[in-house]
Symmetry: C2
Subunit: 287 residues, 2 copies
């Protein structure tokens, strides 16, 4: 662990010193950094002022002024959102699009300047290392929280889960009546749901882990194992001493993961028509 933080901190030093320059592509455009970042964030498709405030975490007064500055320079139009006339939408003018492309070019150029001196082989190694680091850093900083099953993002996660079951089960999958019983955890990254799962009360002793799902492009990042640990911890907090779960035979990776996590196969404990395997694990007090 000390080794790991030392490497991270060392890398951080190298990185800010040497590649921090990538962000300085935002400088030297004759416009201050804040304004430029805003321009870049508005992007080709435009965005509501509200979104911008959230994404860049800016004070509303401050943002208004930044937007006006971009407006005065003829780069951005701000007009009311027809759907909700309290809201305003910022879009790039043609000149704004040019400025945006210019920023994008600068950034690309700087990236080339960094990658350029390397041999092909080294570039490949760097790209591979950065992809790995990217995935893991994103996995490590995923935001996990308890949600109500009616939370819109949670609904979307459940929808994707059911859709996947539909694709993977030979005879499809019918979710039946919506069932909102239980306590749920949602993992998000940049606001997108990336993992989901819940614990349902079966008895005082036993909780059932259900609807565990990890987004396609996040598999292999250990997110499933982490979600499982968190769900077990949640079950323990809810007073259970044992968790059970069921799964279908087509979900091979899931079965392998339960196995690694210390689950043991048990007899059928429910009448779920899609279930083919049942597992249980005793919860011991953490540490």
């Amino acid at each position: 662990m000390d080794q790991d933080t030392a490497t991270l901190r060392r890398f951080n030093r190298t990185y800010t010193q040497r590649i921090g320059a990538l962000d300085e592509s935002f400088l030297g455009t004759g416009r201050p950094l804040g304004v430029t970042r805003l321009l870049f964030e508005i992007g080709y498709d435009g965005a509501t002022v509200r979104e911008l405030r959230d994404r860049l975490d800016l004070d509303s007064g401050y943002l208004t002024r930044l937007l006006r500055r971009l407006g005065d320079d003829g780069l951005v139009d701000v007009h009311p959102d027809p759907a909700d006339r309290r809201r305003r939408v910022a879009t790039l003018t043609p000149a704004g699009r040019n400025a945006w492309r210019d920023l994008d070019d600068r950034s690309e150029e700087l990236a080339r300047a960094i990658v350029g001196p390397l041999t092909t082989r080294q570039r490949e190694r760097l790209t591979e290392a950065l992809s790995t680091a990217d995935l893991l850093v994103r996995a490590a900083t995923v935001h996990l929280r308890e949600v109500s099953p009616t939370d819109p993002v949670a609904r979307e996660a459940v929808g994707r889960y059911f859709a996947e079951l539909g694709r993977r089960f030979p005879r499809g999958f019918d979710p039946g009546e919506p069932d909102h019983a239980g306590t749920f955890l949602l993992a998000t990254s940049d606001g997108e749901p990336v993992a989901f799962g819940g614990v349902q009360h079966l008895s005082d002793e036993t909780g059932e882990i259900k609807r565990m799902w990890v987004a396609d492009d996040w598999r292999g990042a250990g997110l499933g194992a982490r979600m499982l640990r968190e769900l077990e911890a949640l079950a323990a907090r809810l007073g259970h001493t044992r968790v059970v779960l069921d799964t279908n035979g087509t979900l091979l990776e899931a079965i392998a993961m339960y196995d690694r996590a210390g689950y043991t196969a048990i007899e059928r404990y429910n009448d779920n028509p899609y279930a083919e395997h049942w597992f249980a694990k005793e919860l011991t007090a953490p540490r």
Copy 2:
């Protein structure tokens, strides 16, 4: 190449969003960022004002004011350097050391928060990826320049080169009379010499590559191959159409590198008592 810059840029986004927080450990100490960075940079051992100005690239007036602020807070003492009384030296007071340790702790804590949610296996992968990326990013951003052989940093590089030959040759190595003929390239990283080499005029046609050296901890980063390429380009600029070099049998990696770079073995062309192998390469016009 596009793939590589795309990965770099994507990583940069992830990184600034998620780990940029590491630098924010410098915030929330009740002191502004600039002052805090300065405090950290002074470090346990103190530093001259001159050094600080160079390292942080600050205006001298601005730096004076930052230092006074730290002085007023009782964290730093500034007193004239006895060796050169124009210069002033900044050192941390006991309170300053506490503040410094506090910063270090915060930074460590943040690194732990990032690395913490990962499994041991993932941490290992991340650490490995970041080490690789660190090495390659540093290699890619090494600063290469032509130097006079009497340049102090160049002298140091040559000293280390001779020291290594002394260690590696079975009967040691005697550099003999200092010989400053030739044109030299020096690669530095953070001001430290990391690679060195020169081209000496043998005839109008032929240049000799000599004193090529790469620092221990930079081997395997492709720096040798890059230096060799740069020296060949230098020889071409100097008007040569062919380069030769000699080497000792104990320098196995070097020999392998010359081989990969397209050098072919030739007959002894000099009376260097330490040389056991001689190589040559025809220079074709670049591109």
